[in-house]
Symmetry: C2
């Protein structure tokens, strides 16, 4: 029989890392797996709402979280989790490198970029189509790009791109952007960002690389716009496939249903961060971190105080 | 008619300050009142669980929060709120200096130290009785002190005092300390901390200053212990008097009942931090901060998106 840990945390974004910090302080013998350290957070250029840091680069903040978690002697394991299953009185977690057992789990796999599923999207990934402006912006210096989306992340990416691209079209299916006013003000004061509203993008075309996008209605008497890059920012979806196999209850949007103590419908399994219905679905680094702390506290109470 | 603000935030601890950061980003025209900047947080010596800072002094972290909130042109108003009342379509907040109106409120007054209500406690405040080790520890250098309490804060204070006092008694009414294992290990490895369990303190006696405490049963064949200082760490109580006058629903412990969006039983009033039943009642700087963010988001949605 292999060792049975107190806890396995899956995901090394803010929720998972903070769960690990708290678990270490509770002296829970635990592992944390994160194939992508920091998750989506590591791809954010400037974070302006992490309290106490007026502005901080996503990658730097996540490095501080990792250093904090690792200050307790924990090492984030860079292994992809393939399968989670319930065994007799414990859980088994299978990764790319081995199998591990634990009495409790915290699921903190976060969310993934939502795809548009339009022709050309998949074909041109890495050839002009990107889901990560922070990663790819410099490749589009002095080009014309389109940012597709109507929310906060689309707004932020348009602002980010306006520093690189000669011209940025921000294309929103709706009438109004649903973004923080502080970002909208920046967009309106950027001469090289142009908003196209009430308009959808139905296809991405090119040859070797992206050359243009096709609109669902004419804009400025044209049904297409020549662009060298397309940034797709139409939201995210929870990375919930693993949890579904455990028989976990989710809501209509596939987010794991959690109680106020971050427990799920499966006893012994807690969840935290963007993957959950918690924090009134206000998905912030800060709320993910707080959920991680609550989940670790609840796992500790379940394991040690009963 | 005076100006009606979008929002007034009452309390300038982590919950209130983070609510202000988010409110500023939402461009809500708001005020924040805090008679005691930072609240209880400013009295914590070493914070080891603010993510991204392996160790940080409470006063320094709160200064960073204040600087962040004030980076948006907001100034925390050092005024005590005396009365909150509902007027016709808005709320009126009366402070030590004036009256202010707002369409919505976020209550973030935090919690206050719980009193023991034993003879001598009140009389010797500032003469040996303290609720704030971080403030007062240096006055007890080389003395014998008692720390009363069975939770995390009592454990932390005992450790803190062991650096100053010659001898620290940690007196717990229960059998077992309910503190983080990492702190209990430090206590057990400190030669000058002595735990007295299953014992209550029923009186504090002295002349000019504290001289001894009276126990509810004999310890080491003595019914009293000579001490120069008594640190009372028996928990905290929400600062809820103002809210009660608004007719707000609270739980048995007097904490304001909040929904997942931090709304309260009074429409237009949100609450965040140690004063609420939120975050599974796991009262941390991190969870208070997250609640502040959620409350500001909810106030914004109520005011601007409807």
């Amino acid at each position: 029989m292999d060792k049975i840990y107190d806890l396995i945390i899956i995901g090394a974004g803010p929720a998972g890392l903070v769960a690990s910090i708290y678990a270490s302080r509770y002296r829970l013998d635990h592992l944390i797996f994160g194939a992508q350290q920091g998750g989506q957070m590591s791809e954010i250029a400037d974070i302006e709402n992490w309290p106490g840091d007026v502005i901080v680069v996503g990658r730097d903040l996540i490095s501080r979280f990792v250093a904090h978690a690792e200050s307790y002697g924990i090492k984030v394991k860079n292994e992809s989790v393939i399968l989670i299953k319930k065994a007799d009185g414990f859980f088994e977690v299978e990764t790319s490198r081995g199998k591990y057992q634990a009495k409790s789990l915290i699921l903190a796999m976060g969310a993934e970029y939502r795809k548009m599923n339009i022709p050309g999207e998949k074909e041109y990934i890495g050839k002009g189509v990107s889901y990560c402006a922070t990663c790819d912006a410099p490749f589009f210096r002095d080009k014309t790009v389109a940012v597709i989306g109507g929310g906060n992340s689309a707004a932020v990416v348009a602002i980010e791109m306006s520093d690189y691209a000669q011209k940025t079209y921000l294309i929103n299916k709706g009438e109004k952007m649903n973004a923080e006013p502080i970002w909208l003000e920046k967009i309106h004061s950027s001469p090289n960002i142009e908003i196209i509203k009430n308009t959808g993008v139905i296809e991405i075309r090119g040859n070797e690389k992206v050359e243009k996008i096709i609109l669902d209605k004419e804009y400025d008497s044209r049904g297409e716009i020549a662009v060298g890059g397309v940034f797709i920012e139409v939201g995210s979806e929870p990375g919930v496939q693993l949890a579904k196999k455990l028989g976990m209850e989710t809501d209509d949007g596939n987010y794991i249903k959690v109680n106020s103590d971050m427990s799920t419908s499966v006893s012994g399994v807690f969840a935290a961060g963007d993957i959950t219905t918690g924090s009134n679905k206000f998905r912030q680094i800060l709320t993910a971190a707080a959920e991680g702390a609550i989940a670790a506290n609840s796992a500790y109470k379940m394991l040690k105080l009963k």
